[in-house]
Amino acid sequence: MVDKDISEKKANYLKSMKIFDYIIPILSVVAGLLVGAIFMKIIGADPIEAYKVLWSSSFGSMRGFSEMLVNTIPLIFTGLAVAFGFRIGLFNIGGDGQFLIAYLASAYIGFLFQLPMYFHLPLAVLAGILAGGVWGGFAGYLKATLGVHEVITTIMMNYIALYFVGYMASGPLKAQGGLPATPKIFDSAKLPRLMTGLRLHWGIFLAIGAAILIYYILWKTPLGYEVRATGQNSDAAEFGGINVAKNLMLAMFISGALAGLAGTSQALGLEYRAYQPFGFIGYGFTGIAVALVGKSHPLGVVLGALLFGVLARGAMMMQSMVGVPKEVVQIIQASIIIFVASEYIFKYLVRKWRERKGDVIDAS
């Protein structure tokens, strides 16, 4: 049948364009590095030398590798948080607030009492999940019931979290002494380190576990089906009897919980207490970039978080060893995001090129 030929060709065409979903992020990274090199040239630095340092800072030593992964852990969580939100069509900009609330909640459970580790640690982690989840879920609740846009609420709630955590850490929950921070958590609530002398901790397993879980939820469960259907076409989801409002709240809870886990691993794996924050660390915002580069796919998020982890680690080393200001790394990051976001241009050019080749498919 003619009909069959057409849809087959059309399907093949769409399939052949799909490969660019993978190629574009890679090309964007390369292009971003090139832009960075141009800037280094302009300021008189040697890009090749700098990129060698960038590489070796993460992959040249165990310590470097460990530090790089320490940078990566929170980015996996916040990247997943943003990616999961994207899947249902929500833009969770509140990663930083959810991070801070969970950071405080986990630290609080950590120093509040001493318990056996197998009980204490999960409890402290759970506290972070719930705190982040409720913080994000509240934005979801406002969206679902009153239609308040989640971008506004999550941004505002970032500031509430910032000052609330600051107040608690320097006020009611402050430890004795001059440090504006909570008391240290008990050992039983700490995320163990992988090797002595290195800061890398079990948070990495939590992060990878979370990525696998999110993958499973999205593509193997009815909830994931509903989340994706709602994100792709909420009218059709409604038509299919899906409770869109309920799913929006639930998805924001999960998104917030994921971002919260970044704060939890910060408190239980690295700092062992909650300090008064003097501004956002920016994991929530970098998480947006990670989700974009990772195309909102859990595996892509893990790879994207690794990339940004390497860049963050390399920024410091490039500055101290070859005199490249760490702002250059921000330029590289920004260019990568711009290139990924301009995927349409890539696809457009490819399409034009294929049309010129006469590689056109039949009428629809």
Partner: protein, 517 residues
Amino acid sequence: MTASNELAVEMKGITKRFPGVLANDNVDLQLKHGEIHALLGENGAGKTTLMNCLYGFLEADEGDIFINGEKVKVTNPNVAIAHGIGMVHQHFMLVPPFTVTENIVLGGEPSKNSMIDYKKARKEVEEISEQYGLQVDPDAKVQDISVGMQQRVEILKALYKGAEILILDEPTAVLTPQEVEELVSIMESLTDEGKSIIFITHKLKEVKAIADRVTVIRSGKWIDTIDTNSATTNELANMMVGREVILELEKEKAQPGEVVLEVEDLYAKNNRDLMALNGASFSVRRGEILGIAGVDGNGQTELTEVLTGLRKKESGTIKFKGREIKKPQTKRLFEEGISHVPEDRQRRGLVMDFSLYENLILGRHDRKPYASKFKMNYKTVKNEARRLIKDFDVRTPNEVVKAKSLSGGNQQKLIIAREFDREPDLLVAAQPTRGIDVGAIEYIHEKLVEQRNNNKAILLLSLELDEILSLSDRIAVIYEGEIVDILDVEDATEEKLGLMMAGAESEEVEGGNDVGR
């Protein structure tokens, strides 16, 4: 003016590509001065693309356009307008809160001291409407006038800009039969005045009734240009589709059973918060098709949505299988046995970026055997999908491709497959064949009749009067959110329905009587 033997428009070898699609493949079209020329083809055949090339919305990749013998590169609509081409789009491009006069002069307003000269504008509009016999009220707001009137405004707009050649894109789609007749006489008076008209359509009857000549295109290719007198409707259909088509639907008389759906005095609001259903009452029985006829925007959408739980009712009762449904919720109605073919398949019916198998379980995706609480059984889903694709003749390479890669007709078959497979007691089918090819239309019509014969109740809402007449056992006419009358199909004629669709009471319609209430 050019010599009479010259053509008003000649399009030669027009080719237009879209990503992955060859929309026009070496198409020719010749429009003589003073003729009405039909451009006939199925949905997606490339009719509108060809006309958009002529009007400058699109630029052809290959081919030449001659207007009055002069070769013209139509790079944008301003070039087309400058050469005397005017286009009336299927979806009107009017500003609803503006008056008729304001809409007509929009873009070429006469001015005095850099202010718009309304008096002059109004006078010009009156003159032009007089000249062509197109009566309009120049001071009425467009939002307050009927669709047929709005179409006149669109035509006047083109004439005001000096159009000698008019392109009408599916002009009859939104009109009642009586309004169509008026449009035809307008078109005739325009050609008497020396205008030339191309009208795009997929309705064969209109081609025969209105046009002098017809150009048929199929799958983007030029098939033939002939005098309309020289071919029968059936021959035209074959040219358009490329094979024999059966225009008449065979079906035996209905054997209606007990009442499945009973709607009493239903009120509901539309998206603009205005009352769209004003006390609609009707009932549907097993084994019958109740067709709802009406002009677009008389409450059909709202009725469908209330019956499927997608819209809140203000008041009234809905009884399904003898029990009143107080709070219609989509999920519960699904489970109770109401299936729904939505009027907008891409917005409501399908998740375009989902695979076919994922789309085929929408609505029962959380139920056995497709899923348990925490796990989807995609293996079962895919097996079921393959079965449905085969049973319902969905043309696709496999079940994994995305819904958006299917043609409109196959997308609709996919929805039909999903909704019929659930063995519903009531099927609400809204515009089930809108914008799809003839083959798929035939198939869906057969399936609807088959469901009726299987003792299901079917509520059919359609803007195509032909479809209502050929499928329904009883016909309810909806006007401004009310069911004005319900007729047995034997008593219904196009004329009678047309008058009622325009708001006439049944007593006013000659021979109309209240049946089947």
